[in-house]
């Protein structure tokens, strides 16, 4: 009998599988607590977007002017997170009414969309701040 047959093959490492654990009830309880402030922030962003848009729409300027274009841009910049957050809060509603892994996945995906937008905006914002600081110091 050779040595190689004597040594048993190494057992695969014991790893906790993704399906092993149940989602805890407190996760849903905390999501329920987050729903209200998320909706408040969403509504606030929506109102600001409407106000900024109204400032451009009712300004005594031609439509094809820098001021109006800039207000459209800023209104969209406020409207986008409002939409993401509103969908996030709706996903929480859905998760609370029919709790389960797909609902949690949806909540996280909606949240990811919001954070991806906010993260991208944050990076652009920081770069612009640094560029402005360098430009003014020169």
């Amino acid at each position: 009998m050779s040595d190689t047959t004597a040594i048993p093959p190494a057992a695969p490492p014991v790893r906790r599988t993704a399906r092993a654990e149940e989602l805890p009830a407190r996760l849903f309880a905390r999501l329920a607590a987050s729903r209200r402030p998320v909706r408040v922030v969403s509504i606030f962003s929506f109102v600001v977007a409407i106000l900024v848009f109204a400032a451009g729409a009712f300004a005594d300027r031609p439509l094809w002017s820098p001021f109006v274009m800039l207000t459209v841009f800023y209104a969209c910049l406020w409207l986008t997170p409002a939409i993401y957050l509103f969908r996030y809060s709706r996903a929480i509603d859905h998760a609370l009414s029919s709790p389960g892994a797909p609902a949690i996945e949806r909540v996280l995906r909606q949240q990811l969309r919001y954070w991806r937008f906010a993260g991208g905006y944050a990076v652009v914002h920081l770069l612009l701040m640094i560029a402005t600081a360098i430009k003014t110091s020169l």
């Binding site: 906790r16 905390r30 209104a75 939409i83 892994a101 996280l108 954070w115 991806r116 993260g119």
Partner: protein, 187 residues
């Protein structure tokens, strides 16, 4: 107790690989925001105070007003730093949940996220109240003497980018905004 009398706990489903992947991706972006909030909070705390006390040294008469401004800066900066801390912790727990593939850290993460949203809502309501107070002060002419200073940036912008200025870059910005909204509306 009889086995048939036992009440089974409610089932909420289980941790899936997709949840783990989303949590891992979420952690990355949450970190970016946390870093930016920490940077802005620190800048507001340090830069704001340096600016305020430099002006206070030159204009002693405005010292009381400037101390008020410095207090506002400090409060805002502290709120931002607390938000940054909450997001850092949120990101940490998301990372643990993704690495260990367990749902308990996900529930812990939700606690920090909950704190972040409550603080954000409070900050927004405080800012709204602040704007309302300024608007009321403006209407009652309390702030009349500050009109010129308050509208200076707007007038500077108008001077720089009047209706005769090249509209194309601004139109491009507006288009970017519309695309962002369209992107947010996709199913």
């Amino acid at each position: 107790m009889n086995e048939s009398e036992q009440v089974s706990p409610p089932q909420y489903g289980s941790m899936t690989a997709s949840i783990v992947a989303t949590a891992a991706s979420l952690r990355r972006w949450v970190r970016v925001i946390a870093v930016e909030l920490a940077a802005i909070g620190t800048l507001a705390l340090v830069g704001g105070h340096v600016a305020v006390f430099t002006v206070a040294g030159k204009v002693p008469a405005a010292r009381g007003f400037l101390i008020g401004v410095a207090t506002c800066f400090s409060t805002m900066a502290l709120a931002l730093l607390v938000q940054s801390f909450l997001l850092f912790r949120y990101g940490e727990h998301l990372e643990i949940a993704a690495r260990q593939r367990r749902s308990a850290p996900l529930a812990d993460a939700a606690r920090y996220e909950n704190g972040y949203w409550w603080l954000t809502a409070v900050i927004i309501l405080a800012l709204t109240l602040g704007v309302l107070f300024v608007a009321v002060g403006y209407e009652t002419n309390v702030l009349e003497h500050q009109d010129v200073a308050a509208t200076a940036p707007l007038r500077a912008f108008e001077a720089q980018s009047g209706d005769s200025a090249d509209v194309k870059p601004y139109a491009l910005l507006a288009l970017v905004g519309v695309v962002l909204v369209g992107f947010a509306l996709r199913p």
